[in-house]
């Protein structure tokens, strides 16, 4: 099983980003759990270059959501600029 996230839906397709290298894969929406939404993380099984099974990974979704919220808050506060060397 590999981690994947639903980046978006385009018509009848879902576009998944798979693994740490964000490999893109189109899958039919029908292959995803019915309740799957954009931004949800999944555990996917890939066989012969095709996604053969998908399971929602709510825990991963929650973890990523929290981590991203922290990163976004840091950017919004400008904290990432504070380590800039003076020039």
């Amino acid at each position: 099983m590999t981690k994947a996230v639903i980046d978006r839906f385009e018509g009848t397709f879902a576009i998944l980003l798979i693994g740490d290298d964000e490999q893109r894969m189109e899958v039919s929406r029908q292959r995803l759990p019915e309740e799957a939404k954009e931004g949800d993380w999944l555990q996917v099984e890939i066989e012969n270059g095709e996604v053969s099974s998908t399971v929602l990974d709510q825990e991963e979704t929650n973890q990523v959501k929290t981590r991203i919220a922290d990163k976004l808050a840091r950017l919004r506060s400008g904290a990432h600029l504070k380590s800039k060397p003076d020039k």
Binding site: L17, H80, K87
Partner: protein, 467 residues
């Protein structure tokens, strides 16, 4: 080449047109493709953002950015931006002095240039200002060539990076740009995603130590005289990430641009209800030309002379949709797409614009738009024509004039005035648009010929080339 191009906008229509044709042909011959590499230089600049946010919410910071050796940076943490309730209120608020990046070459012309970069199924647009600032709107998917294209143009820094929304076909390639060159400021719609591509984007912004700003309807992004109005997102965001895309509207000289991101029918409808002026000369079509947008009422309001979309060849999503193409054809827009035309370059002067594409396509051959006439209430505002046109192919000329004007056309070849069918006199429609389509005979002598258009006795002549 530069001298010649610099003069474009001070010349007559015929001169301008002739020079453009010659220049383009020369460029294509010399480079075997798009021939404008290195055309714009990159001088030192100061950009600023005027926001309509409440002055009381200005929170001055003093992070002396490495990109801003001397300027004091006043910035507003984006979470406190207070967008106004109505569309486009007069910008009265505060001034953000933005990073002025290290000096490079002096200014060499006064045109604004768009590169609608072919990144396959995705979106990426580079705008180079007359002062040499680089504005990058979206970057396509990861590893789809945006960074390589920028580097091939000699771009060494991005003064303003705008992510219209956080889908990977828009932000994926921005990560590589952030990793490869200085980026002064990143603007987003502030909407979070949970995707790996979005997290990589946030990490890259932090690592690049770029200024981070979120915009909303009513904000105006100012780049040395270029005032870019933000029309979307509004306070009321939609559940669909596409519909919260940053939508931008601005004017350079007499040319109005509207860039839709992936916004669709919901946003179009909100614009129409709000009464915001939507008429534009150049429309970056929403969501890759899909059926999610480009509704007839919206197209009628925008009525663009040129409609450009970005889409990948053979994509699985029916982008652009045939209905969208037909809808634009029906209102007389000339359509360009990165799937058919490759990278599309639009050069805008104070009086008009020129467009050149990497690849010809039957759908949208290179078109020349001569400079506009003075803003008078009558006469011919603009003329666009298929150019060059091949023997045996159809040519189309579209003129903008006053609604109901009586117009005639004469096409002069070596043998004299053409008697082709389709060149009969027409009356301009209620939008002041009139067009003719005719076949250039297989027997027509190739060369540089001319077309004379007469609307209510205002006469304009433009050159065109048969090949």
């Amino acid at each position: 080449m530069n001298k010649r191009q610099r003069k474009y906008f001070g010349l007559t229509c015929a001169q301008t047109a002739a020079l453009f044709v010659l220049s383009c042909l020369a460029c294509l011959v010399v480079t075997g493709g798009i021939g404008f590499v290195g055309y714009l230089s990159l001088p030192p600049v100061t950009a600023s953002i005027i926001s309509t946010s409440l002055p009381t919410e200005i929170l001055p910071q003093s992070p002396a950015s490495t990109l801003v050796p001397t300027t004091t940076l006043l910035t507003s943490p984006t979470s406190t931006l207070a967008p106004t309730a109505t569309l486009l209120p007069s910008p009265t608020a505060f001034l953000l002095t933005t990073p002025s990046l290290s000096p490079s070459q002096p200014q060499s012309n006064n045109s604004l240039r768009f590169y609608f970069i072919d990144v396959g199924q995705g979106d990426s647009t580079l705008i180079q200002t007359p002062n040499g600032e680089n504005i990058l709107i979206d970057g396509g998917e990861k590893n789809t060539g945006a960074i390589q294209y920028l580097q091939s143009l000699g771009v060494q820094r991005i003064d303003l990076m705008i992510a219209t929304h956080p889908h990977s076909d828009h932000i994926g390639g921005l990560v590589q740009v952030l990793n490869a060159m200085p980026v002064a400021r990143v603007v987003t719609n502030g909407e979070a995603h949970t995707s790996s591509a979005y997290e990589s984007f946030l990490d890259a912004i932090a690592n690049a130590q770029a200024d981070y700003v979120e915009v909303k309807r009513g904000d105006v992004i100012q780049m040395n005289g270029l005032n870019i109005s933000v029309l979307n997102p509004s306070n009321n965001t939609y559940p669909d990430l596409n519909e919260n895309s940053v939508v931008l509207q601005f004017t350079y000289g007499k040319t109005i641009f509207l860039l839709m991101g992936d916004a669709g029918a919901d946003v179009e409808s909100a614009f129409l209800v709000s009464g915001v002026p939507l008429k534009a000369d150049i429309l970056k079509v929403g969501h890759h030309g899909s059926t999610s947008g480009s509704t007839p009422a919206f197209l009628n309001a925008v009525h663009p002379a040129i409609a450009l979309y970005s889409a990948g060849i053979g994509n699985s999503y029916n982008h652009p949709s045939p209905q969208t193409i037909t809808a634009f054809s029906n209102i007389g827009s000339v359509i360009y797409g990165t799937d058919k035309n490759g990278t599309i370059i639009l050069t805008v002067g104070m009086d008009g614009y020129q467009i050149a594409a990497q690849k010809d396509a039957a759908l949208a051959p290179p078109v020349l738009i001569p400079t506009s006439a003075p803003a008078s209430s009558s006469g011919l505002e603009s003329i666009s024509v298929t150019n060059p046109v091949s023997q045996g192919a159809n040519a189309t000329l579209i003129a903008r004039t006053t609604p109901g004007a009586s117009c005639s056309i004469t096409v002069y070849y070596k043998s004299g005035a053409s008697k082709a069918s389709g060149l009969e006199p027409h009356t301009a429609d209620s939008n002041g648009s009139v067009s003719w389509t005719w076949k250039v005979s297989n027997n027509t002598t190739p060369g540089n010929w001319r077309i004379v258009v007469n609307c209510n006795n205002v006469i304009k002549e433009i050159p065109f080339t048969v090949q």
